[in-house]
């Protein structure tokens, strides 16, 4: 059998984006030995792509801000389907998590009086996003990467070994979680560089693998986003929730074709940029939905005054939550009022002086200049929706980030619940800090509570190795399949059939296509050898992409309403009966290649009384059923 390198740790963190790194820091500070496994080089994770900022109600820019306001904004953004306990913890703890980063060396942009500056963003009542120009994600990841280095330096001073407590395994992909008697016992994977196998024996695994965007053709996500954590968790017996909710960011680049989907930060709109159609009209004023009526400016004049005077004016509808803006752009393009390359215009050039644009949005300036030959200080950008984020993910306990399988934890994008049906911009960086830390704590407490350590059985290791190597063997019968071709077909059908606007026939067609891919995936064959072989890597990732795509499509078919990141053309309205229902995905068999997916509805716990009282009754009536509101003080009074 294949050679397998073995390591033993207390906690293995899979994924080295923001959530993973924050979990590592916490578990190490609790004195545990931690391995960090990242698919790319250390410090390259997708978090670097986050531009706009990190939401935390520090109240530096507007002292009226506090956690309750942030909580309310988050629940509204998610259309009240969020796990309210997660939204509460997130809103309460985000400021401490941001301040803590300063003690690690982060340098956020400042206010006049030297505090952390905060910017406006869609769906946030007050300027709330801590930021560094438009490269906030890079700052977060670098800061935590450097904090980990500083912890390693402490360990070196103490033990003479930098890696005594934290070791980074870069360019390693985990392909299987291993269990012992129902509990997590470790994780199995391979080094990209050599193709050699590695086994981490550990009683606790934190999944922080990010999203699933690579299942869609037009996406802002990198190749790493193949839903690994989602699929690993399901194969290990955990459940996913909210998979039908996929966020299409309203503003991705649309031209040139090779960069289609690359993100244009919402910060452009936060700083004054406006959306216009081919007739030069600011069309967002026409698209304020019923539930947000009265909360947004109704004239261009009021919207423009709002940037300088937020007390007396309402915000521009360009800053509605992302799902609303994405749908509006989609409608404008469909109505024939799009830009030449099938998007709409995003204009900052006519709104701010060139110097100011370069200063506030340096990477956007750079990105358009280099990739599209467009000078954003002189002409408008062309933008359109791009698959950006999955609200759905591993179902976890809010306080400890524990999944239903003992020893398994999840944080960041691969976990589910926090954002409900739609995430507000800026809430992902804060999410990964808050829940990354909680996952690190949760895993540490779990490990400390164990009386005996689980063990990994050799047969599980052999089976995982055999599975991983299977793409090198030509199929016994049938034609050999090329992984790139299958990936392409999968991305195209998800994009076309389960994209931003959905209907039942189309989703059914997508499911047929996925079933076909499922039968062909067994015949995927790759050339070459095990050293840094991208074809082989893709063949392995493809299994995960297929499994999560099936979750998205199946859940999308069942939810017969439109809410947040799930829009059904055949069921266009919000349906209060659906508000409290979660669609739970789990593996229904143990097909080793790609298990089948089963979806079961489940009710959420009702919101705690003190939290529900933070909302006015008329607002809740837009979302809740009559029965649910019986005990609200507005009703009983």
């Amino acid at each position: 059998m294949s050679q397998v390198e073995r390591h033993s740790y207390d906690v293995v963190v899979v994924g080295a984006g923001g959530a993973g790194l924050r979990a590592v820091i916490e578990a190490r500070q609790r004195g545990l030995r931690v391995a960090v496994v990242c698919k790319s080089l250390f410090g390259k994770a997708h978090t670097v792509m986050a531009e706009g900022g990190c939401a935390a109600s520090m109240g530096n820019a507007n002292s009226n801000d506090n956690w309750q306001v942030h909580f309310r904004d988050t629940m509204r953004g998610g259309k009240f389907l969020n796990n309210w306990r997660m939204a509460e913890l997130h809103a309460r703890e985000a400021p401490d998590r941001v301040w803590e980063l300063e003690t690690y060396g982060a340098l956020f942009d400042r206010t006049e009086d030297g505090r952390i500056s905060q910017r406006n963003f869609g769906g946030h009542t007050y300027p709330r996003l801590a930021h560094v120009g438009d490269r906030t994600g890079l700052e977060l990841i670098r800061t935590m990467q450097q904090k980990i280095v500083s912890l390693q330096q402490e360990d070196f001073a103490e033990t003479g070994d930098y890696e005594a407590r934290i070791k980074v395994f870069a360019e390693v992909t985990i392909t299987e979680l291993v269990k012992d008697d129902g509990r997590i016992a470790g994780a199995f994977g391979y080094y990209r560089e050599t193709g050699r196998f590695v086994l981490f024996e550990a009683p606790a695994v934190v999944l922080a693998t990010g999203g699933i965007g690579k299942s869609f053709k037009v996406t802002s996500n990198s190749w790493e986003y193949t839903g690994d954590g989602h699929a690993l968790a399901m194969r290990a017996g955990a459940t996913l929730i909210n998979m039908e909710f996929v966020q299409f960011h309203p503003t991705g680049m649309v031209w040139p074709p090779s960069v289609k989907g690359i993100l244009v930060t919402e910060g452009v709109r936060g700083d004054g940029g406006v959306l216009k159609n081919s007739e030069g009209k600011r069309f967002m004023f026409e698209y304020v939905p019923e539930v947000f009526k009265g909360q947004y400016a109704e004239t261009e004049e009021e919207a423009d005054r709002w940037y300088t005077d937020q007390e007396n004016n309402r915000r521009t509808p360009d800053l509605l939550p992302r799902d609303e803006v994405a749908r509006a752009i989609n409608s404008e393009v469909k109505a024939g009022r799009g830009s030449p390359h099938g998007g709409v215009y995003l204009d900052i050039a006519s709104r701010l002086p060139a110097e100011e644009i370069k200063k506030r949005l340096p990477s956007m300036y750079h990105q358009f200049k280099e990739l599209a030959d467009v000078d954003i200080t002189a002409e408008p950008m062309e933008v359109g929706p791009t698959c950006h984020y999955v609200m759905g993910g591993i179902e976890v306990d809010p306080d400890t980030a524990a999944a239903s399988v003992p020893g398994l934890f999840a944080a960041g994008e691969c976990s589910g619940g926090m954002h409900g049906s739609n995430r507000l911009g800026g809430n992902s960086l804060s999410d990964l800090l808050v829940f990354g830390r909680r996952a690190g704590l949760g895993a540490a407490s779990y490990v400390e509570s164990l009386e005996s350590r689980p063990t990994v059985s050799q047969s599980d290791v052999d089976a995982a190795a055999e599975m991983a190597l299977s793409p090198f063997d030509p199929p016994a019968e049938g034609v050999e399949e090329n992984p790139y071709t299958l990936q392409n077909e999968l991305q195209q059908s998800m994009n076309d059939l389960v994209g931003i606007i959905r209907k039942s026939e189309e989703i059914e067609r997508a499911l047929e296509k996925l079933a076909e891919i499922r039968s062909r995936i067994r015949n995927v064959t790759v050339e070459g050898h095990r050293q840094f072989n991208p074809g082989w890597h893709l063949a392995i990732d493809l299994r995960n992409m297929l499994m999560v795509s099936e979750c998205v499509a199946r859940a999308a078919l069942i939810r017969t309403e439109s809410r947040g990141g799930h829009t059904r053309d055949d069921h266009p309205g919000l349906d209060a009966q659906w508000r409290n229902k979660l669609l739970v995905c789990s593996a229904k068999d143990d097909d080793p290649v790609v298990p089948g997916v089963e979806v079961t509805p489940k009710e959420q716990l009702p919101m705690r009384q003190d939290l529900i009282e933070l909302f006015e009754l008329p607002e809740l009536e837009k979302y809740y059923t009559e029965d649910e509101l019986g005990s609200h003080p507005g009703r009983t009074a």
């Binding site: 670097v48 792509m49 009086d113 500083s150 090779s258």
Partner: protein, 251 residues
């Protein structure tokens, strides 16, 4: 709009390798990384290349194009003529793993040798106050995406393996400058910069600055000011201390 471009791509491993010729389709608006991907999907599925963001933000796709250190994802095909032969090779300063992928672990080792941010005693989380003008200098250096193109191009190590031991390279000398210019950092790394990280090897040729895809003025804003601090320190420690305390006037 599309045409076939002539590429020479280095393929091989840590032992041997050679340039392979490819004729590949190019469409409007594409960058070199698109062409490499097309090659993977058609002729060479096992061609090894690193990339993540395809937007110049992660610094993974570093390689040399016609001998110049570049990001593959930010080099537009329109910068070449249609009959030009485009040669793509791995970074020269680092050992090859396979094809365009090199072993950049040198950089992570160097990063670990630089004393980290040292929080100011007596200030808790949430109590940090800094002026925008004071954070801007370090912020410029924190734009670094760790593509290591500057490390690759710097002649001190590009063809001098023997210097790697004693020279941190522009990226990490800049990291020292970043921490030294952090308004609230309380450590001192000036002497170490010279004695342990090889600041003295740098003869300010500015080649690092020229290749930096983030446009960071590595030499002018980080290396030269660090050299000045070292010189001041040698000359008179009291003057140096003063300059650290009142650095805003100096900036």
């Amino acid at each position: 709009m599309s045409y076939k471009a002539k590429f020479k791509i280095w393929r091989g491993d840590d032992q041997t390798g050679e340039l392979h010729d490819y004729l590949i389709e190019v469409n409007e608006g594409e960058v070199v990384l698109d062409i490499i991907h097309r090659l993977q999907a058609t002729h060479a599925p096992d061609l090894a290349v690193r990339w993540n963001c395809k937007a110049g933000k992660c610094g993974s796709c570093s390689a040399e194009i016609n001998g110049r250190p570049k990001l593959l994802c930010m080099t537009r095909m329109s910068t070449f003529t249609e009959d030009e032969v485009i040669t793509v090779t791995p970074l020269r300063a680092f050992p090859v793993i396979r094809d365009l992928v090199t072993d950049v672990s040198f950089n992570y080792k160097k990063a670990r040798e630089i004393p980290s941010f040292t929080p100011p005693p007596g200030l808790g989380p949430g109590e940090y106050r800094m002026k925008q003008v004071d954070v801007e200098r370090s912020q410029e250096f924190r734009k670094c995406i760790e593509c290591f193109l500057c490390q690759d191009t710097c002649h001190v190590i590009r063809d001098h393996e023997e210097n790697k031991e004693s020279f941190a390279g522009p990226r990490f000398l800049m990291r020292i400058a970043e921490l030294e210019m952090h308004p609230l950092d309380s450590a001192d790394r000036v002497r170490e910069a010279q004695d342990e990280h090889g600041l003295g090897y740098c003869n300010i040729t500015k080649c690092c600055t020229e290749v930096c895809p983030e446009g960071i003025k590595i030499t002018d804003n980080a290396l030269i000011p660090m050299k000045e601090r070292v010189a001041d320190r040698k000359y008179d420690p009291i003057v140096w201390l003063g300059s650290k305390l009142f650095k805003r006037e100096k900036a």
